[in-house]
């Protein structure tokens, strides 16, 4: 009651930004009723305890900047600290598409940022290297030899080195076509991803084996590339658009039952295509594409639910698996039960729940490189929480989480193996778990 006509929640963003991206942002800001339910879910609010570093605060800051009431440089430090983990989306009863808001905002604001030459070079390098697995592999292998130098380097350069595994394997490109084993029951397209081809090639190999085993033939369409998420989330919208369109051209959704990714970050990126292209001529094409996109665990979970998953061999001994929810799987794609159900389908496996399981591990795409201090705090906290369950094995569905958790668990002296959910399943099929 007593509404005094001075509650400016509804925004004026469209007047200032009368385009598709303006619509995406205006809608998100409109949907926020500033109830604060997202505050306890936000990792940066948990660490810093101030409103500017909370989802609600950031929404207000973005609105003020978009309406011209606040200079971008003033709001930037707080917006830059956002991990894009979307824990706030899960917590929000009002349905605020925060992920779309921050992505669009970064795309709009990045070209206007004044960054130092070093900063610019770093970002350009990330965006060049990440989408090119061969270059990445090379860089990673060179970096591996630089690891002993890490203590001498400034934090920003040190953190990526810390994350590199002790041993960087050689690249193993995947076959363009993997036939189904036995009777063919389905046909899917697969996005091979970037970093994981260089760092953890077994993710893809295991994925192809498990799918084939289940009678699913897999096509790796030529011309596909990086999903564009890294470019998009760092605000390089033009680069992202190129990558998005290349993938739209490479994957014809009508040819496949599903388009699969085994990297939560990439899968979430693919599902964002309609928002990225909102208001542009290829929006409809993006919708048809995104409707077919599934995470590998979502797809196999569907087979399991329909009773169609090939039976798995039991583990050789009772095994406890701590399952880590990747933000881009749990929060961005809402995939939580399928990976757990798949792990539980292996006789002998018990799935452990991680305390503070909704809190980001701090990896979050390029966050490790951009905000090393907060990323490290979150990594330490995550590894502690996971290890507190005393698991035999740690499973997750994302390359970023994988390297972050592995590196922090090792630093805390734990030798517990860290695997992709699909690797665990693959071992079980081979009777090697």
């Amino acid at each position: 009651m007593g509404y005094e006509g001075k509650v400016p929640v509804n925004n004026d963003i469209l007047t200032h930004h009368p385009d598709g991206q303006g619509e995406v942002m205006a809608h998100a800001v409109d949907a926020c009723v500033h109830c604060g339910f997202c505050l306890p879910a936000c990792p940066t609010y948990a660490l810093l305890g101030d409103e500017m570093d909370s989802p609600r605060g950031r929404i207000v800051l973005m609105k003020e900047v978009l309406e011209g009431a606040l200079p971008l440089y003033d709001a930037a430090p707080h917006l830059d600290r956002c991990l894009g983990c979307q824990a706030c989306v899960t917590a929000c009863p009002s349905g605020v598409p925060y992920g779309e808001l921050i992505t669009s905002f970064r795309g709009w604001s990045e070209p206007q940022r004044q960054r130092s030459p070093l900063d610019r070079a770093k970002r350009a390098a990330i965006l060049k290297i990440l989408p090119a697995p061969r270059v990445f592999s090379l860089a990673a292998r060179v970096g591996q030899f630089a690891k002993p130098l890490a203590p001498l380097l400034p934090n920003a350069l040190r953190s990526p080195l810390d994350l590199l595994p002790e041993h960087v394997p050689a690249m193993q490109p995947s076959a363009a076509f993997t036939p189904a084993r036995g009777q063919r029951r389905g046909r899917v397209a697969f996005l091979v991803g970037c970093a994981q081809q260089a760092l953890t090639p077994n993710f893809n190999a295991a994925t192809l084996r498990v799918l084939a085993r289940n009678g699913i033939e897999v096509v790796i369409p030529e011309g596909q590339g990086c999903c564009g998420a890294a470019a998009l989330h760092t605000g390089a919208r033009d680069e992202a658009l190129k990558l998005v369109r290349a993938n739209l051209a490479a994957f014809n959704p009508d040819d496949f039952d599903a388009i699969l990714s085994n990297a939560a970050g990439c899968g979430a990126g693919l599902k964002e295509y309609p928002a990225i292209l909102h208001g542009l001529p290829d929006e409809a094409q993006a919708r048809a594409f995104a409707a077919k996109v599934q995470d590998i665990s979502e797809y196999l979970g569907g087979l399991l639910e329909d009773g169609e998953l090939e039976p798995v061999l039991p583990a050789s001994r009772p095994l406890t698996v701590a399952y880590h929810d990747a933000c881009h799987l749990a929060h961005a794609q809402g995939v939580r039960s399928a990976p757990r159900a798949l792990l539980r389908a292996i006789p002998g496996v018990t799935v452990l729940e991680v305390p503070e399981g909704d809190l980001c591990c701090g990896s979050a795409g390029t966050y490790n490189l951009e905000q090393p201090e907060l990323a490290t705090q979150l990594g330490i906290r995550k590894a502690k929480n996971i290890l507190s369950t005393q698991p035999d094995l740690i499973a997750s569905g994302n390359i970023g989480c994988h390297t972050q958790i592995q590196s922090h668990a090792r630093r805390q002296g734990s030798p517990v193996p860290v695997m992709h959910t699909i690797e665990v399943l693959d071992l079980a099929y081979r009777g090697e778990l």
């Binding site: 929640v9 926020c32 109830c35 101030d50 003033d74």
Partner: protein
């Protein structure tokens, strides 16, 4: 005596460790008050940039004036220093918790100092005395989480309890579903420490001149609470949950009256109408009955299973007699989901329209059926989105008018809100059950409270805050000359 010191889970001690090394936003000229505060308290505890201050001007319902400076105190001494500096500068002071308030309490009416308690999160459990000592920034749910290992709980459970702070709960005397049986925040306060308008610190108990009672629910207009001693209780051994749905809102209210008349004392009795149920379904996808006009959620609890189940049977019978369909929660997990659904109602309504006029009426239980029917009829006749939910066991209802100011007339919304308020007053009800008056309901105070009583309240205010520095423009309408 076993006394457990407990780290507060959401904002661990990490807070002080960071901050200094991180880039701060730039911009906005430094107000002299901010400069003084930064000198006395250090830069980490004082926010002065525009981007920072803009974020401390709202709560969950209203936007107010942008503060001149914000202090994030870590101790009572910090609060004292902040109050003294603000007084020396002659600017008003507004206390702020998590800003989940629904009355505009934490949204300043004029530029001044905001003191945000979110970093004062020390919490100690004294299991032997069944007490918790909490600083004001402790999150409500954290008290129960810390007490549970000692076999104790803190019952007040506002739907916002994952977000709201003890200071804000005290400021609004918050209630929640459990309060029907177990009482509201104020019923659990054994003692308070507060900083007055001059910056002096006082310690209060609940003995003669229950000054603590006066501070509870005063929305930061009489003093700033810096610590509370809270009573903890042993949780009941058994809880049973049921859901009933009805084809008409009045029937739901009749079932509630009948169940209570039959002697049932459920621990929670919550109601939501069809629009609420649908908004929740869009969020959580639980399979709630979307077609039902009213949904009732009920908990019965106690230490004797037989009594608990008998009580549930009484409620079930009352629901069936009123034409309702009853479903029992089969597991703790199912019950937990239903209660999460209930807690999400208010923000989920944001899916329907971006803005709302939110009421907090309390009416005698005997007239509930007429009241919900009359309000429903008003809503239907208005052509606006009017929804109802609330702690129906207490007669505490939250009719909400949802609207989009770009397409719907503010006058019409305002008029409907007035009519709804009049329904409550006509049936012997009051306008604020648990959210407080703040600035949002000021306009109604004169209708609801007689002039003499208002004058007495003003005398209390003058006695404790002679300069009117504490949260001006809240709770009391301007004095008549």
């Amino acid at each position: 005596m076993t006394s457990g010191k407990v780290a507060q889970p959401e904002k661990q001690a990490l807070t002080p460790a960071v901050g200094t090394g991180l880039p701060r936003s730039k911009g906005g000229s430094l107000h002299p008050l901010a400069a003084t505060l930064t000198r006395t308290l250090g830069p980490r505890k004082v926010l002065s940039n525009l981007s920072e201050r803009l974020n401390y001007r709202y709560d969950a319902i209203a936007f107010g004036a942008t503060p001149l400076a914000v202090v994030l105190p870590e101790s009572t001494a910090d609060v004292v220093a902040a109050v003294k500096a603000a007084r020396a500068a002659g600017v008003p002071i507004v206390g702020r918790g998590a800003a989940s308030g629904l009355s505009g309490g934490a949204a300043p009416t004029e530029p001044g100092l905001v003191i945000s308690f979110t970093r004062m999160t020390r919490l100690e459990i004294d299991a032997a005395r069944r007490e918790a000592r909490a600083q004001p920034g402790v999150i409500t749910l954290a008290v129960t989480e810390a007490a549970r290992p000692h076999g104790l709980i803190y019952p007040p459970d506002p739907a916002s309890f994952r977000t709201s702070t003890i200071g804000g709960n005290l400021g609004e005397n918050a209630g929640g579903p459990l309060c029907f049986k177990y009482g509201v925040t104020g019923d659990y306060v054994q003692g308070l420490e507060f900083v007055d308008a001059e910056g002096d610190v006082h310690t209060l108990t609940r003995d003669t001149y229950d000054l603590a009672g006066l501070l509870i629910g005063s929305e930061g207009t009489l003093g700033l609470i810096t610590e509370a001693t809270l009573r903890l209780t042993v949780p009941p051994r058994f809880t049973r949950t049921l859901m009933a749905h009805f084809a008409e809102v009045g029937a739901c209210a009749e079932a509630v009256s009948a169940a209570i008349a039959a002697g049932a004392v459920p621990s929670k009795l919550e109601f939501m109408d069809r629009a609420c149920t649908n908004a929740i379904e869009d969020y959580l996808h639980l399979g709630l009955p979307r077609e039902a006009e009213a949904l009732l959620l009920v908990d019965t609890d106690g230490d004797d299973l037989e009594t608990v189940e008998e009580e549930r049977a009484l409620v079930e019978a009352a629901c069936r007699n009123a034409g309702g369909t009853v479903r029992r929660a089969e597991s703790d997990a199912e019950a937990a989901q239903l209660w999460q659904a209930r807690r999400s109602v208010s923000p989920a309504l944001g899916r329907i329209r971006p803005q709302r006029m939110n009421e907090d009426i309390v009416v005698p239980r005997s007239v509930l059926p007429e009241v919900v029917r009359e309000i429903r009829a008003l809503g239907d006749a208005s052509g606006l989105h009017l929804v109802q939910f609330g702690h129906i066991g207490d007669g505490n209802l939250h009719p909400n008018i949802l609207f989009d100011p770009r397409t719907e007339s503010l006058e019409a919304v305002h008029e409907l809100a007035h009519e709804v308020a009049r329904v409550a007053i006509r049936h012997g009800g009051v306008l604020s059950g648990e959210h407080g008056i703040g600035s949002m309901k000021l306009a109604f105070m004169r209708e609801a409270v007689d002039a003499e009583t208002l004058a007495a309240l003003w005398r209390v205010k003058h006695a404790l805050d002679p300069q009117g520095a504490l949260n001006p423009g809240k709770v009391l309408p301007p004095e008549l000359a």
